[in-house]
Structures are given as C-alpha cells and as structure tokens.
Symmetry: C2
Subunit: 406 residues, 2 copies
Amino acid sequence: MGRFVNLVTFEEAVSRIRKTQWNPISTESINPELSSGRITSTPLHAVENVPKWNRSLVDGYAVRSEDCRGVSETNPLSLGINGIVEAGRSSFRGFIENHCTEIYTGGLLPPDYNAVVMAEDVERSGDSVSVLKTVKPWENVQRIGDDVPSSSEILGNSDIIRPWHISALISSKVQTVEVYRKLRIGIISTGNELFEGSEGYIPNTTQRLYLDYLNRPFLKPESGGVSHDDVQEIRKLIRKSLERNDCVIVTGGTSLGGRDEVPEAMAEIGNVIFAGSMIRPGRTLTMYESQGKPVFSVSGIPIPSLMSFDVYFEEYLKIVTGIKAYHQEVSGRLSSPITNNAGYLGIHRVTYFPGIDGSKVEIAKSKGSGSLASILNSNAVLLVTGDKEGLPEGTVVKVKLLGDTK
Amino acid sequence: MGRFVNLVTFEEAVSRIRKTQWNPISTESINPELSSGRITSTPLHAVENVPKWNRSLVDGYAVRSEDCRGVSETNPLSLGINGIVEAGRSSFRGFIENHCTEIYTGGLLPPDYNAVVMAEDVERSGDSVSVLKTVKPWENVQRIGDDVPSSSEILGNSDIIRPWHISALISSKVQTVEVYRKLRIGIISTGNELFEGSEGYIPNTTQRLYLDYLNRPFLKPESGGVSHDDVQEIRKLIRKSLERNDCVIVTGGTSLGGRDEVPEAMAEIGNVIFAGSMIRPGRTLTMYESQGKPVFSVSGIPIPSLMSFDVYFEEYLKIVTGIKAYHQEVSGRLSSPITNNAGYLGIHRVTYFPGIDGSKVEIAKSKGSGSLASILNSNAVLLVTGDKEGLPEGTVVKVKLLGDTK
C-alpha cells in the first residue's frame, strides 16, 4: 500500500487545494463577437442605452396619447398622415397638428409623439386614419434605455458569456470584453499497454476522453503524448507539458500497490498536495504543485479516472477563474436507495429524469470500477459525502448534469 | 394586418411542419475520435468485448479462490510468487501449484487463476506471501466483456455522441461511426437600419445571436449576408443561401403591418407552410418550403426572434435527424403565478434553481418584446400551451435549459 496508507479525507484534500498558491490565469481583451462561452474577469457594463432612441414595438401610427383621449369605435379620431417611419429610414417631415405618422416595428418615434396606436386599432382610408382606441403615454413604445440602460451591469465577474449576453454587449456598444485566457491543459498517458503490439494492448481511450470532455470554450486541452512505464520518459513529458500548459494531467503510472513511476517522476519536479484521498472511485488520485501549476496523477481507467479528476479540477478552476458553476445542477428524488462507503466521498453516476410529478434520479448500474457501461445511459453525477452511509429512496438530491445542453 | 389576419394555432403550425416533405439529411462515416457531439444515424454496437481479456481491478495477487477457502489472519495461506503481471507487460512463466502471481491494476489475469487478493489482504515477505482473507471466484477481476459485451448496443439511432460513448466505441474496436452530416444553416439579415450611417443605425446583433446559439457540433451555421429592405436584394441572398445550405433563416423584412419584402421575395421561390401563428412572442414568424428546404422568416429583434424560431426549428430538427431532445429538460415549481394569452403558445423566459427542498422556476421580468434584459439572468424557457390562461404559483412545470452545461 505504501504511499496510500493514510488517505486524507475529501474535505482535507479540498482544503489543501484552497491553501495552495496557484498561478493566476492572465486575462485578455477580446472582441465581444468572439467571446461566446468565455469567462469574464471583470463585470461588464452597458456603454450606451439600448435602445438608443424611442422605438416602436409594433406596426401602427405614432400619435400623442392626449389627443386620443376618449376615442372609441363609436367616437373615432380622424388624423392625417404625416410621413412614414420604418426601421432604418423615414419620410417624417416634422410634426403637424391633427396628423399622425405611419410607423413600423423598430422605427424611431418622431419627436412630439409619445405613443403608437396599433395598425389593427385604426381604420385607414387613403391618406388618413380613424383611431378607434385610446393609448396610454408610451404605449407600444420601447423607450431609450428600456432594454439595457447605459451603465447597467450586463455580466458580473467570473460569469460565462452566453449568446444573448453578446447581443446585449454589442447593442450597448461595449467594444472589448476582459476574459480569462483559455486555461491550457496538457494530458499525458502512461502505460506499456497503450503501445500497439504490447501484451494485452488496449487503445488509449482515456486521453481521448479527457480531450473531448475538456473541449469547452474556456479551456484548451492538448495531448502531452504517451509514455511507457518509464520514470525518465514520463518526467520528460511532464516537464515539456508544464512548460506549455497551466495544468497537467497524467493518466496511469500509479496504484494502491507498487506502481510508482509517476510519483518518482514527480519527486524532483513538484510538491505533493495530497497522495490519495477518501473518494470512490479515485482513491489513488494524487495532486502535485509545480511552480504554481497543478499536476493531477489519475487512474488510466477512463470513467473512474475522469469522474474523480472532475471533482478536484472543479475546485482548482473555481480558485483560478472564480467561476460559480462548472456544471448545471438539477435536483430530483432518488428512485432507489443508495449505499455509500462511510468516510468516503461517493461519486455516483446517475440518470436525471424531469417530470411534472417531480424529477427522478436513478442510480446507473455498475459492475466494478472499470465500467464504461454504467455511464453510457447516465447523464449526471451525484456526490454523497463521507458522513453518510447511504441515502434512502425518495431523498431529494442535487446532481450535476454532465451532458451538453446548449 | 394583411397576411396575418388568420393566424394558425401552434398545434396546426407543427402539424403542417410534420406533413411537409423535407429533404433528408445525408449521413457520413467518420472516425469515432472525431464524432463528439454528432448525431448517430444508425445504432452502434460493440465489435469486440471490453475488456478483451480478464483483467485485475486492483493491485494484489492472482490466486485460485478454491485454494484460499477458510483462510484468515489466524489461519493464513502461504504461497510462493510466480512472476509479476502489470498492465502491458508480464513476467508470468506458467502456473505452479502453491504459487500466486503478483498483479497490478489492469494486468491480465494469467490462466488457471480466477481471483485477485488485494495487496492489503496479504502479508508479504520476500518472495512469498501469506494470504489473510478468502476471495470469491472472480473477485477483483473484470471479466471478458464485463464492461461492454461484444455486439451490445453502445448508442441507439439519433443519439448524441458524448465523450464516454467515444471511449466505449474505441475500446470495443468500432472503426467508423455513421452520423448525420452537419445541418448547414444560412442566416440572412434584412433591414436598412443595419447599415452604418442609416437613420437610427443599430448593430446587427440578431445574426450574431443566431450564429453563436446554433454553434453546436451537429449544426453548421454561416452568415448569408445582410440586405437592405429591397425585394430583389433579399431574393438574391436567399437564393444563394439556399444553394449552400439545408435551411435558411431570414431576420426582419416582415411585420404585422405593411412590411412585406420577405414575403414578396419568397413568392417565386417557395411555398408558405404557415404565415404567422398563435405564439408569443413570434406571431409573425413565417415558414416556407423551397425544394424541400425550410426558410424561416423571423423578427429582427434578437431575443423574441430566437425564442420563437427555436420552437419550430426543434420540430424540423426532430423530423430530419430523429433527435429526441434538443434541450435538456428540467422540472421545478413556479415561484409565482404566470399569465398566458388564451389560445397562444406562451414562450416564457425563466430561471431554474435546483434545491434539495425541490427545484424552483422563476419568471424573468420583461418589458416589451424587445427586452434583452429579461434573458440576461435567465437560463431556461417555459412553454405554456394555448389551452391555459395561466398557471398558479406552485405548479410543477418542465422547462428547457438554454445554457451549455458541458
């Protein structure tokens, strides 16, 4: 058992991650049009009012609401038409008493008018209309700043920029946005079995899994290569990957028993944050710090490796980017009881089913820690803390969605 | 009001979409490594068993479980060590009675053995061990096909391929996957106000919003350009975009009132599926069919335009790809009552909050149809069908998440 005799608790592991001095991730100024999915590093405020002018929300006729007081189908108000205003062009030639202006959705409300009567609430004949309905001041008008007032906050600090935020940023004339640089992640695989022709050769699915899973707008994963179970070779790849990246993941090369190529390779490169922790799966996950950068030494078995990495990576990511939620959380009722190893954070694969009689969380069936099958139909993860030996059926739990819902 | 006097119901609009003959989307064979986020066009089955061999799930010693019957700390079994098996390499030299084989996680279980005793359950001294605990047959062993049996289904038809599916595909030696070609979408903006220097110039945020929102692995949105409010110019862009794409979106150029550049432009190109429907926002959304391809004529006001487009686009997408869920659905309780226009499908922007006392759905505050502000802090959409004039506080509703949770 060697290095893993005294596993720290999950809470202790997290506390050590929080106490470590990690390199800050630098920020960059980019065009809002290119910012989809990036993380803000400062709050972003509207520069100009949106809309910049009073605009009609409907197709109809611009009027003074006071002129339409008391009008109705039996007491219509007859008005001449003084030009047409469409979005982007206008033939309005100045206000005239007893005239309205034909106006289309998005058109700028001409001065002196303060409301728009909808086209369906007038009777038109040639160059005049009969208004059949009263309108309140500013009815059917979107006033200056109604949508996004100048100086209002569009995004807070450490928010993920969504497509609609970009609309608000561009509309309100924000020229550049300050975001965290994409976090660069190097992924190194170790294992003689990953080389074709080796005994019991297995394809390197773990590196592929990390590359795809971490392919998000605010991350930049790259392969750091594949190494044999050789301390020198592993150390060389880690050194190279640390030079290029903010964070390095090394799969394989460590176990509860005797394999210790990665610990040996890391011995002269970095400091141990924790060597194993009480989480399942993932007891042997070891985290190092090297010149302010994290190195995650994880299992080579794809699903348990990723599941356990994810809980600690989220902690690191929250520290360096301030991001509030890495996964969308949802809640539902457990459809069956769940057992948990006392003292251990249990990382359980589940399926979330929404329903109008309440949402349901089903435990994915699993055979052993290598089970790919258990995740194929699951879409979320349930974390059960070590103070619980299980949860009864019907417990309402929060789970983290793994799928991509965009 | 012209063309929009008789709006069809949402249900009728959907029924017409379903009755239309749309061009099928062709499929392509791609490498599983490049298939993340794509939609399968056939079910995919494992070619080989995963694992291909019996493998150890732990670090320990390979034994015959029957030899360990009755052993305990007070009655240990002493065994010699006949080689070492690691993942990818082995010094096992054939079975010998009264010997075990040192084995590491992922190592291939040598023939004649049927279990692995964990390293922590033996006492080792030099080249022999004392086994202190019994093991059941196949304990700590992942047997051939345990994870993904040969021929088992990894993905069904019209499923979205997630990173873990790729692990299963590669592990089980699936060489190529058949997926739908990326659906190509052209987005054309119309409006004089979108040209710098025009009266009331507004930046073209709507096209940007569509481009970012539709940026998914199984879609390929592209700009189809920007046109003045000119029938010839609009028609030219639509024709060009239809040649290159499976589907075209035209923003602006239509309204409840008099603007009708897009209907005129489309008159000689395609057939009307429906001209306006009872949805809010989005009453004027008009859908055409041209040579088996849909053309969506939508509002130019970003948020209401996208929200209304999305409900019909989802229907189209389900028809041509068979995709089951375009958005992740979640359910929760309404934290306030909601009013709905009778007869209209209401598209309401909401915020979903998960909680262990149940999930909550809050209605986003909105001022008029142009409101960007209402979506900035919302993360989901609630559809209320026209048979309801509202929903009381506390109703459990299903909503569609808009954010990206990957």
